[in-house]
Amino acid sequence: MNIVVCIKQVPYPKDVKLDPKTHTLIREGVESIINPFDMYAIEEGLRLKERYGGKVTVLTMGPPQAEEALREALSYGVDDAILLSDKAFAGADTLATSYTLAMGIRKIGDVDIILCGKQTIDSDTAQVGPGLAIRLNIPYVTYVRKIVHLNSKKIRVERIMDDGYETIDLNLPALFTVVKEINEPRVPSLRHKLRASKTRIPIYSAKDIGADIKRLGLNGSATRVINVFKPQRKRKLEWIEGSVEEQVEKLLDRLRTHKIIG
């Protein structure tokens, strides 16, 4: 069974700062990590391989330094890693990203299962997974919290929706986006760490994956960011003092004033 896990290297979510002049993100000195939701996708790929056999490949699109994220994935026991990197990919929105990843996966060939994290923690869109499945013309299920079973080419999964859980049957190949509840990621092993440092990671350019240049990066993006700013937080803390009864009384008064309770 061929499993592909799509991952993204994201800035560590602390102290995101804007350049006061250019209103762009300051990237220098910002630590990068594998998008936390993708860690669950990697782990699930490894567990599927352990249960059903096959091979796990991690795929990412990003600048050359995204290779670090792929090496980290290899240290967990992933078999192969591929980096899609080309100046032409820069500035991609989710539409251009899903196109690029789809072309990369097409280059890999036969794939049975594609796993993605439910969303990234930098842009939070949750759009690339479904978009990728559409481009590959395969079914998808979002917010998967459990892969129940898999036999022959039928798979049963459980997903979380706002109003409860759904159990869904479908045929492979298919794409799943996973939530944290699905597993607990392992720690890297020494053996895999050693292997990771030696594994050659192929870097594919736009030409290598046969992509149409008009559909890549900023050119291929439908959306444009026209302004970036820090949110205004108008809140000012009011301490509520007194005995517990007084505190509760005062608090409920405030909530009534805000018309939150009747």
């Binding site: 979510p13 993100l25 936390p36 939701f37 059903y52 989710t94 539409l95 789809a102 996966i105 036969d110 923690i121 939070d124 869109t125 949750a126 997974g129 978009g131 559409i134 481009r135 590959l136 013309n137 998808y140 299920v141 979002t142 917010y143 919290r145 080419k153 979380i160 929706m161 706002d162 109003d163 859980y165 759904e166 159990t167 869904i168 049957d169 045929n171 492979l172 190949p173 939530v179 944290k180 509840e181 439908a222 959306t223 960011v225 026209i226 700013f229 820090k230 809140r235 000012k236 803390l237 301490w239 517990v244 009864e245 505190q247 509760v248 009384e249 608090l251 409920l252 805000h258 939150i260």
Partner: protein
């Protein structure tokens, strides 16, 4: 393990709408999602915003409903601002199926050509709409908290948080149509119902059974029910490590019930298996923005804060006066939650 013929094939994809055809796209659409035959609050909130955008553009507002056996609910939508409600009523549409819903929406958008399509940033909306936008090769902005029309060029200005709520970005979709966005629950106001509003319901006859379905819903388990609709809740009552053990979440359940709210939790409480994951608020859980967020025994780690910081009013109760949760709170109580919650419950029960 699997045979060769299952290789993935890239479908021939549609060309994006040419820049010369943009003017053919007119009007504002709301995808009015339903769950179990009812509209979540965000649908009414979208109708209010949609009305405003349509009026600014001098265009009409339409709602599209895919469901079954909900004539009464559908007929009420004009009262909330819709000029036209397109209603696809079919038993196969009762529950969410990606293939069915995507096919119907894509076909209708191609036929009627709206310039703007909005949907709730619910789990259903965020699963469905990206598929639709990809097939249409158009732009989609997720999780918007602000929408307005640029008077100069009639473009939809879509504002959304990014980087875990630490920055806001305004996004446009200049050259493709429709302009699509999912919108967070509770950032918009529900409009008042106008019983005299005029609007028509157009029933669409679609042979839904002919749409190929690749996924099959085996079971739906609405554990927790309506009151646990966290993403949509007006009031969220959350507990963290300070709750000390799982059974103490019963206290929060009681308080939430009295307030008509949903129960949330910090990552620490979920990791300790005191409460299921779907209650988790934060970076690796749900992002909520209710009118009122109450944090009990939650220290306020960044990973939690990004999931609730945009709430209107934040009440924090913690023993530690220096807990970071107080940095973002509206009202702070330095105290023991095991005294404060029972006192709140007693007071609220006394009122009812």
């Amino acid at each position: 393990m699997f045979a060769k013929q299952q290789a993935i094939i890239i479908e021939t994809e549609a060309e994006p709408v040419s820049i010369h055809d943009l003017d053919q796209y007119r009007g504002v659409w709301i995808f009015a999602e339903q769950r179990s035959g009812r509209f979540p609050a965000v649908v009414y909130q979208l109708l209010g915003k949609g009305r405003e955008l349509a009026d600014n553009l001098g265009e009409s507002l339409s709602a599209i409903v895919i469901g079954t056996d909900m004539q009464k609910e559908v007929e009420a939508l004009p009262g909330y601002g819709a000029d036209t409600v397109y209603y696809v009523d079919h038993p196969l549409c009762a529950t969410f199926n990606e293939d069915i819903y995507i096919n119907i929406l894509v076909d209708l958008i191609r036929k009627y050509k709206p310039e703007i399509v909005l949907a709730g940033a619910t789990s259903l909306g965020r699963s469905l709409i990206p598929g639709v936008a990809t097939i249409l090769e158009t732009g989609l902005t997720a999780d918007c908290t602000g929408l307005e029309i640029d008077p100069e060029n009639r473009l939809l200005l879509q504002t959304r948080p990014a980087y875990g709520e630490q920055i806001m970005a305004t996004i446009i979709c200049p050259h493709r149509r429709p302009q699509m966005a999912t919108v967070r629950s509770n950032v918009l106001k529900k409009p008042a119902f106008n019983p005299n509003a005029r609007g028509e319901v157009v029933s669409l006859n679609i042979e839904v059974e002919r749409i190929p379905r690749r996924t099959e819903l085996v079971e739906h388990n609405s554990e927790g029910g309506e009151s646990d609709y966290l993403a949509d809740a007006r009031i969220v009552v959350s507990g963290g490590r300070g709750l000390k053990e799982g059974k103490n979440f019963e206290l929060l359940q009681r308080l939430a019930k009295l307030l008509g709210g949903a129960v949330g939790a910090s990552r620490a409480a979920v990791d300790a298996e005191w409460i299921p994951y779907r209650h988790q608020v934060g970076q690796t859980g749900k992002i909520v923005n209710p009118r009122l967020y109450m944090a009990f025994g939650i220290s306020g780690a960044l990973q939690h804060v990004v999931g609730m910081e945009s709430s209107d009013i934040i009440v924090a109760v913690n023993k530690d006066r220096h807990a970071p949760i107080f940095d973002i709170a509206t009202y702070g109580i330095e105290g023991d939650l095991f005294e404060v919650i029972p006192a709140l419950i007693k007071r609220l029960e006394g009122e009812n």
